[in-house]
Symmetry: C2
Subunit: 523 residues, 2 copies
């Protein structure tokens, strides 16, 4: 495996060395990586800027072929990739195989989008020379790439939100060169995928600056990347603290740039009375959404909300049984595991909080185990302390019990922005809770009826984003085809020569894409 920093098509060793840690054993893994130097950062960004001049103008078919080649190269790595990711992340093989499928699926989805071509939102208003009082001049607008993007790999998706994950994939689709800062928890996985992207870029004779991959187990490289004058946009998936540090850095530059940070969310689930009455035990299957892969998902449900009732007691009992049976799971990093234990124990220690469900299946053969636990609190105690609204990343959830619907509504109104908000309800009871469901749609990017919030569909209709603190800008998504919008801006050409217009805007619609022409959608 190439373990060096990849700058364009060159491998460069870098400085200070580090090794990944196997979260399951706590031991250092064999491969040695080296943090990039500030000169490496500059070189990667300068190359990205150079590549931008040509790559941003590359036609959709070529970009699509590039993305498909990346998918092929990732598949070509075979089991080595899964084994490496398992060792570095502690995630099971099946999950990582699924995640690889999602990663290549995303790449192919964007390839389809580029080949179809209408994503550029072409708008054409042709000239009206005899309009009064002033003639209308021909104006044509479409989305175009912003510039070099810096992508931070996420710890919890070593494939799908990392080196060739959703951010890289949508940036490359948009026409933005990408410099990835590899997550230090999975450098080997990152290196393997980085090499796959390099091979794909070479295959299509792209400017080498289209992709670089830099390592660092500290913050120096990330900071230098965000502050580099050639960087035009940054994406990040991780903690609120980490995300907001990047946003602040980006805003303090001479030229402020946008940062799309997907940060914290507790993804509330409201259990309505009739649903509890009719199917308390079925609802207890939410235990899977709470605990799968040690609950290390941005959409993991950290809050359950209900009005007290006999049916709720039945649900609690069923949930206790289900959670007791959940095996402990290796968490992604020792740091994440320590933080999970610290935060959950701190909440559990409060007088207002009781444990209603806890796993008794600890895997004693491995370290950094996340052990599932669900607590309970009264709505009034919850409302009295802001700390209960904070995300506890891991297999943990808290049931908030309200005295009545009015108090339930009060809790909903107190919540911060979310990626998702879910209602478990019988169809007939939904209309009477319209105030609450309307509020959920104001609170979250995705509202769900009768299903778990985990399992994020990658498609056209997905919105994975939401009001702060779920993300730094609720107007964008980081999953689905909409994610490309983060990396593009509209440019309009006024009275421009038809031959010199981008093909998307030319007379006769040579690319046969959907366009808004003089107010009418047409092909």
């Amino acid at each position: 495996m190439e373990t060096q920093n990849l700058i364009g098509y060159q491998y460069i060793k870098g400085g200070k060395s580090f090794r990944a840690i196997s979260p399951a054993t706590g031991a250092e893994l064999e491969a040695e990586f080296n943090a990039a130097s500030l000169a490496d950062v500059d070189k990667a960004m300068q190359l990205a800027d150079k590549a931008f001049a040509t790559y941003s103008l590359t036609d959709g078919k070529t970009k699509a072929a590039f993305l498909r080649s990346i998918a092929d190269e990732i598949n070509a790595i075979g089991d080595t990739l899964i084994e490496c990711a398992m060792a570095e992340s502690g995630l099971p093989a099946q999950r990582l195989q699924g995640e690889r499928g999602r990663t290549t699926g995303q790449l192919n989805m964007y390839a389809n989008l580029l080949e179809e071509g209408s994503w550029v939102d072409a708008v054409i208003d042709t000239a009206i020379p005899n309009r009064t009082p002033l003639p209308r001049i021909d104006i044509r607008k479409m989305l175009t790439a912003i510039g070099p993007a810096v992508v931070f790999g996420a710890s919890n998706f070593p494939l799908a939100f990392s080196v060739a994950g959703g951010d890289t994939c949508s940036a490359l689709a948009a026409g933005c060169p990408v410099v990835v800062k590899a997550h230090p928890a999975h450098p080997g996985t990152s290196a393997l995928v980085g090499e796959a992207i390099k091979k794909a870029a070479q295959k299509h004779n792209l400017h080498e600056g289209v992709f670089s991959l830099l390592f660092d187990d500290g913050y120096t490289v990330g900071e230098a990347l965000v502050k580099h004058p050639k960087t035009k946009i940054v994406t990040f998936t991780g903690s609120l603290k980490g995300g907001m540090a990047l946003v602040k850095m980006a805003q303090e530059r001479d030229e402020p740039i946008p940062v799309f940070a997907e940060m914290g969310s507790v993804n509330p689930i409201i259990l309505l009375p009739k649903a509890l009455e009719n199917r308390a035990e079925e609802l207890a299957k939410l235990s899977a959404s709470i605990t799968t892969n040690a609950g290390q998902f941005c959409t993991q449900p950290g809050l359950l909300l209900a009005v007290k009732s006999e049916a709720l007691n039945k649900f609690k009992k069923a949930l206790a049984v289900a959670i007791a049976d959940v095996n402990s799971a290796t968490m992604l990093t020792p740091g994440i595991c320590a933080n999970f234990n610290k935060l959950s124990n701190s909440v559990i220690a409060d007088d207002a909080v009781t444990i209603i469900a806890k796993s008794d299946k600890l895997d004693a053969g491995n370290v950094n185990q996340g052990v599932a636990v669900v607590t309970e609190i009264t709505a009034s105690a919850f409302l009295a302390d802001e700390k209960y609204k904070e995300e506890i990343f891991g297999p943990y959830s808290m049931l908030i019990v309200a005295d009545d619907v009015a108090q339930l509504e009060q809790v909903v109104n107190s919540l911060h922005g979310q990626l998702t908000a879910t209602v478990m309800a019988e169809k007939e009871e939904l209309p009477q809770y319209k105030t609450i469901t309307n509020k959920l749609a104001k609170l979250a990017g995705r509202v769900i009826l009768n299903g778990p919030p985990t399992g994020v569909e990658v498609g056209n209709a997905m919105q994975h984003g939401g009001p702060y603190p779920a993300t730094s800008d609720s107007r964008f998504t980081s999953v689905g085809t909409g994610a490309i919008k983060r990396f593009v801006r509209p440019v309009c050409w006024q009275n421009w020569d038809n031959d010199l217009l981008p093909d998307e805007l030319k007379d006769g619609n040579p690319l046969n894409i959907w366009r808004l022409v003089n107010g009418e959608i047409a092909k």
Copy 2:
């Protein structure tokens, strides 16, 4: 005229009084206004938040009728509005009549957009229960209002970018209640238009919090509005310094919020050799774009770029003749005039700078006169000092003379982000300057061939925005139907009950709008 702060449907007097100044005479105008108190700010924002719950869900037809009523009420004010705006801004009647038409035109354009309805970008992926390995669940996405908006009135468009201007209009269209901070240079104009909006809101029985109008001749009210927790988005048109101060404030809140600030631009115009050779005198008509309304437009061309030639000398002579003949014009405020004189005189005082054209028509009967002037500098001197890239707001432009095309390209590469970039060229010479024109499209939101950058068409294809420092986020526009995108975010409904979905997303497409359904655009 009601001169008090308008909070919902109530007029409230406020504190410290101030009067507008007639820029033409320098004297205070009669009407007295009072700065809103912090309690007024809080009251307006709380009302806006309350209104948001219902107004954000108001159907498109009702919102459209509201916007049309605002236009009608503005027209109903009649000449009083034009006279008031003339006295406060120093702008001539004809320009203000045109601007009123643009303002009501914008309102009606958004009404059309809402009635047509497809602007919400509805995307529907229906369920595929038998998909493997996992079934696809029904997901439906559309754009929805973000929350209460704070709009800062601009000095240079007392109607079209002020109380009922493009920002207010697109925010209200999106479903966001608006609190306007009136520009202190035209409080009377603001009050008249504010009352028109109030009447329109009352006519349609909207929640009174849908609109408020606050006065202040200082910064206290603006700052309190941006920092108020109920404020979810801010728009501003004005100086780089003012815009960035708001961006910073918004980022430092507990909950950071987006600010769309349209700030500084020098709107370069490149005069290519053949165009100069063939029509130097016609090109000198750019004098109008440089000087109309004392050059107080965001798209006023502050830089002209050319390679030295005999034809360029001819252009300079023709420009000198044209500019000499331009009457001085009253500038918007004494402050703007003083700043214009200070900045232009500071540049003119430099050894590297010569005057090539200057008006000799000073209106001695009025004060605060902007007198047109065009200077010249060599490309190498221009490249040596960053200060020449700064906007000088007023009837001023600078011709940069390059030794050759390579140096011209060097100048283009050195420029900051722009709202517009223009090329004056003969069709046959354009292809050989493709590197330069490509660069212009990277630099600006709008690229123009053979026409002045001033005169911003209000339509679907317009992009009025560009890379920093032209705006704080190049991904949005403040003119045209696209401006609504600043105020909305996507929300998706997963597995939601069809009867409870917004009409835009229901089965059967009851609103008959264009939607992307399972990857196909359909009605």
